[in-house]
Symmetry: C2
Amino acid sequence: MDDCTLPVMNTGLRGVDIASSKICDVQGKKGKLIYRGFLIQDLAQKANFEEICFLLLYERLPKKDELKDFEQSLKQKRQVPENVFSFLKTLPIDMNPMDVLQMATPLLIQNDTNIGKSGVENTLYSAENLIAGMATITAAWGRIRNNKEVIEPNNDLNHAANFLYMLNGEIPDDETAHFFDTGLVLHAEHSFNASTFTARQVASTRAHIYAAISAAIGSLSGALHGGANVRVMKMLKEIGSVDKIDNYINNILSSGGLIMGLGHAVYQTDDPRALILAPMSKRMGQIANQPIWYELSRALEKKGKAAFKAKKQREIFCNVDFYSASLFYAMGIETDLFSPLFAISRVSGWAAHVIEEQFAMAAPKPSLYRPGAEYVGDYCGPDECVYTDLDER
Amino acid sequence: MDDCTLPVMNTGLRGVDIASSKICDVQGKKGKLIYRGFLIQDLAQKANFEEICFLLLYERLPKKDELKDFEQSLKQKRQVPENVFSFLKTLPIDMNPMDVLQMATPLLIQNDTNIGKSGVENTLYSAENLIAGMATITAAWGRIRNNKEVIEPNNDLNHAANFLYMLNGEIPDDETAHFFDTGLVLHAEHSFNASTFTARQVASTRAHIYAAISAAIGSLSGALHGGANVRVMKMLKEIGSVDKIDNYINNILSSGGLIMGLGHAVYQTDDPRALILAPMSKRMGQIANQPIWYELSRALEKKGKAAFKAKKQREIFCNVDFYSASLFYAMGIETDLFSPLFAISRVSGWAAHVIEEQFAMAAPKPSLYRPGAEYVGDYCGPDECVYTDLDER
């Protein structure tokens, strides 16, 4: 896209290309999501989360031995510093898990003897430390706030299965673990979304990767960003049964509201991730003996799309949150952990972007993101305001 | 500036106006810095930090009673939750104070019963809680890492004097307290610099202000942003005496290096803040019986400017960091606390920007900052790469 085909003023930079990147391609019209050249459909079907992390960080698929070494390296980093747990135990149990994760993540610095030294190898080490450690922190908070003992990582399990084990205290069945793994693969990367832009921006000041990832977690915590599948789940519960969908849709559309999980800023067709998540959601509902959430979602999708088209004369499509809600819910995961799940996956993409921002030679740019702003505040005349003393106001 | 007079691609958005704002005007050519219509020179001379906070947050100067109430309100928020201290005590004493501040700041949420509720009044309350609390956290870490007892806030003192008291355990003399107060005034706001842009960006997702400010601290921690006056101080120590300046400058300029504290991305004349800081640095050196740092700075400024002009045929100017280094150092503040000092001042500006981002009706923009990026990664042919199975690689 040409630099100046779109306005940049007060548009949130929406759709304005501001940088070049080799990490991810999102082709909104075609519904294609591509990590480092590979279609998400292929990756979701064939690769596990560890392999995706390698691909994102090291810019290519690993060979068999490399993947084994990488998995081993992540396992070695699952143990977090002891003061993480003592810290979490001092927090009120109703604290938002995203706030907890934003705060606790930089504690992983303590396991990183290279912190402060520059160099891409050191940052790759830190990235692995973050990917491994944030899963442990999230699971630990899921336990501690429910007054349960923290579970030590189990190195017989891969990243996805081990997370569910640390969260629930039980080794998940293979199918559930696989679905969760695929969920992590699907959420790992999505180009310059808001939280990734935050990570890049913090990294551009040459802050270390822990500062950048913590900031990105803060960005993801916003209701307009990471919280969408929580609202999908809330909506599904509110609807409650298929026979109430028509009424729900009518009320929403006539009041100018939105159907959660339908519509996306970039895709102009169904989000490719939603197409992968839907059958997993269906099967997970069967496994968990809770078919209702998938059934509701599927019926809502059909009826919602039709109603939207009838009313607005254009189509609307499923986004990633539409079926991830029912999938994660059927796994028994508490809804306010959905955003942290997003974070423990997306950290892989964030890390790749931090590294690209700080080390890529292909896209040199002057130091840091420092946009301008037009001052539209009032002066108090033709020039600056006159400061009157306190007694004279 | 017109939307498209400057390129936006891989330029770090440098100089590209992306939003309108009523908070701050920086006129680089004229060397003017303006908060809410008022020249920094007037504010630095006549207002204290609390008044600046009021001005930035409430968009006008306070009346006498309003300022009194505001000061009282900040005092009530100086006490931080007890688990802040217990948390800090678990940290390794060599942890970077900016990392500590980024982590600990969201703990202030616990004192904020309105968290999660929207509305500008609630966010203003949170802003005051952050301004008051971050000073306490910073001072506490300054004590704890030196194995000293945490000092309770003293509500007979204003914000600046109380910070120095909490840090040093002694009530500062009036002149030192006044200089520190003015230092806070000068660092409070500077338009869309990198950390402020981070704060706005996180706030644009509708994350709460604690998430946004924590992220901004992360951004400020970067070497290209908040750490400049630390490097000025390091340079001054390295030079050591006035007779070594010529040699130092020659070495730096012939190796293509930079003289720390000279040059600024926006100002094309001396930074107005440097002009205010210089005499304070001089006087503080006298008070502390350490005139060397100011003397070195002054001589380096003169010789450095002349050498730069002779070599590069253009002028270079002092930035804010050039004299704040020697000022804070003569106050006895440890150099790695310089960036946290910046943060406990700038939080006032960050908060004003968060509020403008989330609540200003004057500049409606579509939800969040979500720029585009041009994908320049390789495909493996005309289309996407073919995923080969692990065994076949």
